[in-house]
């Protein structure tokens, strides 16, 4: 029988105390145990980037971590990026307005990746954006609109920061 551990983990600001089999990945824990199915699993070996979440504010592939490793840590998933149930995050708005997604499977991983990237690089070039999302595979868009959406999001976030700062 599988070994289990009790863990306490903050996901999107909410504390969960759960018992998990030690071999379960963080991605499967989020999806199956917490029912947060916004985190997608494409390849399950760290290539596609769909399962990217923020682990203590840093982007990480949740298929390449065990849930037990998240004990005592903070996770942000796609479900946690919008400010409330009826308002989209500027990054989400930019993706909607620029057709930055088609089927949407890769989108959660791309948004979490960009959330960290734009926080650290508020004024990126197109090349910076392309490098930032080089670890995320999208088979629909050809990336063009993803890059456009990311640059638009950067501009929106800069405006937001300037307004809240003044």
């Amino acid at each position: 029988m599988s070994e289990t551990r009790k863990i306490a983990i903050a996901v999107n600001g909410r504390i969960y105390e759960e018992t998990v089999p030690v071999r379960v990945t963080l991605a499967d824990f989020l999806r199956h145990q917490l029912k947060l199915t916004g985190t997608h699993l494409g390849c399950e070996h760290g290539v596609c980037g769909a399962c990217t979440v923020l682990f203590d504010g840093r982007s990480a592939r949740s298929c390449l971590m065990l849930a037990v490793q998240a004990d005592g840590h903070e996770i942000l998933t796609i479900e946690g990026i919008a400010p409330d149930d009826t308002t989209l995050h500027p990054l989400q708005e930019a993706f909607r307005d620029n057709h930055g997604l088609q089927c949407g499977f890769c989108t959660p991983g791309i948004l979490t990746t960009l959330l960290e990237f734009l926080r650290d690089n508020p004024n990126p070039t197109e090349e910076d954006v392309r490098i930032a999302i080089s670890g995320n595979l999208c088979r629909c868009t050809g990336y063009q609109n993803i890059v456009a959406a990311a640059l638009d999001a950067a501009a929106r976030l800069r405006t937001q920061t300037a307004q809240s700062g003044s």
Binding site: E3, T25, G46, L66, I131, S134
Partner: protein, 290 residues
């Protein structure tokens, strides 16, 4: 695509890790997990015990000690990437690390994990070879130091015992005034390099090379130091035509033949990339003047 069943251990000290390694059969150390986790998911490895190093104290640091940079085994690649001291003392490592996977993997991936996994095209492995790094390995009888040249024992196999663990890596840094370049050929940014080249240069007041380090990654199981090229460069002025001739000898190096590229293609890169890396290193050393 799920990890197999295993017993999980998360020790807090290096001594506890060594204790576990000495008593448990078929145990694997889990560092950043960017290689071991895919291998577990794909069941390429079936350990009975996974010993997680992420809660072990004191293995994550970047220390400047005179002209060496000492980096703890569990230091994240990201922390090296954004370390001002690492950038200043080992600009080659800073340049190489931007080629290591992607931001999401560098946030988790560690220096020690990369060196012990010993992927033939791993950038940090090449950097360790280029800088003649020394690897500290802890075991039951204390800590020993291994010259990096002796660290790769075989394909993806470091020369450490089953009850030992890598704790730190010491990189001898080059003087403030040196040229450096790390370049690689990969199909896409962040992919495994087919071949990489690392170059380090020192020149005298007349522009003649006094010291050179040239390393090729991706050719075989471990990085190759191009010692003959390094010797041939001494006393030379860096100039494209002469470099082309000197580096042409690298075409005869052994190279692996796999799905990513035939051996002859790697040999072509082996002749071309070091020349480009040396020219880039020279331009940096001389402030852009040719």
């Amino acid at each position: 695509m799920k990890p197999p069943d295993f017993a999980y251990h998360d020790p807090r000290t290096t001594a506890d890790v060594i204790g576990l390694l000495s008593t448990l059969e078929n145990a694997k150390l889990l560092a950043g997990g960017q290689s071991l986790m895919p291998m577990l998911n794909m069941r390429f490895v079936l350990p009975d015990h996974v010993i997680d190093l992420n809660r072990v104290e004191g293995l994550s640091y970047i220390n400047e000690r005179g002209d060496t940079l000492e980096i703890g085994a569990m230091t994240r690649q990201r922390d090296i990437e954004f370390s001002e001291v690492a950038k200043k003392k080992c600009p080659l490592m800073h340049e190489a690390i931007s080629h290591v996977g992607h931001r999401q993997t560098r946030n988790r991936g560690t220096l020690g994990g990369s060196l012990c996994h010993l992927d033939p095209s791993a950038e940090l492995v090449s950097v360790a070879a280029a800088l003649d790094a020394k690897v500290s390995v802890a075991g039951k009888n204390g800590t020993r130091s291994i010259d990096f040249a002796a660290f790769p024992a075989a394909y993806m196999t470091p020369a450490i015992e089953f009850d030992e663990m890598l704790t730190a890596v010491s990189f001898p840094c080059w003087p403030a005034r040196h040229g450096y370049a790390f370049i690689e050929f990969a199909r896409r940014h962040g992919d495994f390099a087919i071949v990489s080249a690392a170059a380090l240069l020192e020149e005298d007041a007349n522009g003649k090379v006094t010291r050179a380090s040239v390393t090729l990654g991706g050719m075989g199981p471990a990085p190759v130091r191009a010692r003959e090229v390094e010797r041939a460069l001494i006393g030379e002025k860096i100039e494209e035509k002469r470099l082309t001739d000197i580096c042409e000898t690298l075409r005869s190096l052994d190279a692996v033949d796999d799905i990513h590229a035939p051996a002859s293609y790697r040999q072509q890169l082996a002749a071309v990339l070091p020349r480009r890396a040396l020219l880039k290193a020279h331009r940096r050393l001389t402030g852009g003047a040719q």
